[in-house]
């Protein structure tokens, strides 16, 4: 009985971790910068592909996941920002369309280069026995990395000079500019950081889910509702919503089907937004702006 409880706890923790991971990059790009990034799922997808490609070419899997994936996607994000996104800051609808075009473009490009087939890498570390059950050790590492990553984001955003500059610029770019900070550079750097986090998520998820060009669609809706429901406190709000909705999804996926689980997550988020239109973290952060 105890073993079974641990088994379920691991499943729940993993689902919370996955939800947090796929949302962190969007929390930066959408939550902070107010860019509706429909290419978010494709950033995750590119992270996955970067990992798989690196591993196929003999790179150590940890380096592939933790270094190659985020760096590659950050570079792609920086290019996209320079060429497309930069023109549309402050125009929500236009960025939405531009990133949607980017998303289709990236799907098409990856399909053309790598083909429309599922690929994957084996999860490292094997499994750990907990009584009668065995749990994939990689899942435990994934949870640990997610916790660590959330803490780093939280500290970087709230306790470093860089985080302060970024938050200040997002709130009032003109004021930041008069204080000698170049908003254009800050915007570019923040976007690349968000892309980097998405790439990292893609890299870490590649051993679990495998990669396929249109895999982004499975993540983008969940990431958006998580960030929107999270509200003004970017990291804590996102993690809180993930902790709330992750178990719901995990439970219903277990009892019914994964599709019902995802549907329940989205419906729960819509109802949550009807009750708390500003997102869950208004209760401890106050309203935005």
């Amino acid at each position: 009985m105890m073993d079974h409880a641990i088994d379920i706890a691991v499943a729940v923790a993993t689902s919370i971790a996955v939800l947090t991971l796929i949302s962190l990059g969007l929390a930066v790009i959408f939550g902070m910068m107010r860019i509706i990034n429909f290419a978010h799922g494709e950033f995750i997808m590119l992270g996955g592909y970067a990992t798989v490609e690196a591993v196929t070419h003999g790179v150590n899997i940890w380096i592939a996941m933790l270094v190659v994936a985020p760096v590659t996607v950050a570079a792609i994000g920086a290019v996209a920002e320079r060429l497309i996104i930069r023109r549309f800051y402050g125009q929500l609808v236009t960025t939405m369309l531009a990133t949607w075009g980017l998303s289709l473009f990236l799907i098409g490009l990856v399909t053309a280069v790598f083909g429309n087939t599922t690929r994957g890498v084996a999860a490292p570390l094997g499994s750990v026995a907990i009584g009668a059950y065995s749990v994939s050790a990689y899942q435990l590492v994934l949870v640990a990395i997610t916790i660590l990553l959330s803490l780093i984001c939280l500290l970087a955003l709230n306790r470093t000079r860089w985080g302060l500059v970024a938050r200040g610029t997002m709130r009032n770019p003109e004021m930041a500019a008069t204080l000698g900070i170049d908003p254009v550079k800050v915007y570019a750097a923040t976007f690349a950081t968000g892309a980097m986090l998405s790439g990292l998520a893609g890299g870490l998820l590649a051993p679990i889910s495998g990669v396929i060009p249109h895999m982004g669609a499975a993540y983008v809706a969940r990431a958006f509702v998580t960030v929107i429901s999270g509200g003004p406190a970017l990291i804590t709000g996102t993690v809180a919503v993930a902790a709330l909705l992750g178990p719901l999804e995990a439970a219903l996926s277990l009892v019914a089907t994964p599709v019902i689980g995802q549907a329940a997550l989205l419906i729960a988020a819509v109802i949550l937004l009807r009750v708390l239109p500003q997102g869950i973290s208004v209760s401890w952060q106050g309203t935005r702006r």
Binding site: R86, G90, T94, L97
Partner: protein, 345 residues
């Protein structure tokens, strides 16, 4: 203004002319394809109305379209007669829009969140319909078919005469006549008092509210109209193609309507309607040639439109024509980024 009205009447005449002379000039295949294009264009009008004139950016338009399509397929399979299936295909999306509108407008959810939530709802429908492959998912005698969708959907028939289905030529005439009529009706709505208030809501929600109009109600009304038009489009689409699958709810479909409205020109009805024909033709052209990946090309086209023709084709052409007449260079709408950022404050 008279100019615009004249052009509108001209377009209407052109659509009816197509309906009259089309069948005698085109082959069977072209008739079927153009009917399907017209059904999509019809649905596009719904979004052009709700987004362009009332400011409701809904990615859920595909949900209404798909619900109409499925409602027609299920009802006509069960009843064996399409007479009642058509009103049902309009009614179901309208009911759904009321339910959705309650959460969106009465919850006073912002424009951005509205777009994302409607997209999520559409994707839920997509996942749900995809998972109904099991034969136990059936409504009456109609299995939902899951990923494979429902095929062999009966075509439209003359009212109360199940044995007299419409020929492709008649279907073509019906589609184009419906498109023309809907276009005309939407223009009538916009010219009426209610329509003017809707435009006022788009221009300035707070001011409209302070003037004493219940903004939520007018938005809801516009949302219902757009859902009805989308449902009708979905119904005609399915009746013409004899098939409906979950892809009517997928991300591609959801965004396609939005793309057509943007590319045609936000705030016009004719632009999105005309350009939807062009895009659908292009898509089929690319799909049959297979020399380039379709989503690659489409992604590039969208980015091209957003970057270079941000206001859409029709308004840009109108401005160009005006500028030519006055011999004044057209104003291009690109200002400095810093000004863009400053606008947000």
């Amino acid at each position: 203004m008279t100019n615009v009205r004249g052009a509108g009447i001209g377009l209407l005449a052109l659509l009816f002319l197509a309906a009259v002379v089309g069948p005698s000039m085109l082959g069977q295949f072209d008739l079927l394809q153009l009917s399907s294009f017209a059904a999509m264009a019809l649905a596009t009008l719904g979004l052009a109305f709700a987004w362009g004139y009332v400011g409701i950016l809904s990615f859920g338009h595909a949900a209404f379209f798909g619900l109409g399509a499925y409602a027609y397929a299920i009802a006509t399979t069960n009843l064996g007669d399409s007479t009642l299936a058509v009103p049902l295909a309009v009614l179901l999306p309208v009911c759904f829009s009321v339910l959705l509108g309650y959460f969106l407008f009465f919850g006073r959810i912002g424009q951005v969140y509205l777009a994302v939530i409607t997209l999520c709802v559409t994707l839920i429908l997509f996942s749900f319909m995809n998972s109904t492959a099991d034969p136990s998912y059936r409504i009456g005698t109609a299995p939902l078919g899951g990923f494979n969708g429902m095929d062999a959907v009966p075509p439209l028939n003359w009212p109360w005469q199940p044995d007299a289905p419409l020929t492709p030529a008649e279907m073509f005439q019906l589609c184009f006549a419906t498109l023309g009529l809907t276009y005309y009706l939407l223009r009538l709505i916009l010219r009426s008092g209610v329509g003017r208030i809707m435009v006022a809501v788009r221009e300035n929600e707070l001011r409209s509210e302070l003037t004493g109009y219940d903004v939520r109600l007018y938005k809801m009304l516009a949302f219902m109209v757009s859902a009805a038009v989308a449902g009708l489009g979905g119904c005609l689409f399915t009746a013409n193609n004899g098939y409906v699958g979950p892809t009517v709810f997928d991300l591609n479909q959801a965004s396609q309507f939005v793309l057509w409205v943007v590319a045609g020109g936000l705030g016009t009805l004719a632009g999105p309607m005309i350009i939807s024909f062009g895009f659908q033709y292009l898509q089929i052209f690319l799909g049959t040639r297979q020399f380039l990946n379709t989503s690659l090309v489409f992604g590039a086209i969208i980015i091209f439109f957003v970057v270079l023709v941000p206001r859409g084709l029709l308004p840009t052409l109108q401005d160009g024509a005006k500028a030519l007449r006055r011999r004044v260079p057209a104003v291009t709408g690109r200002s400095r980024m810093t000004r863009r950022i400053a606008k947000r404050i």
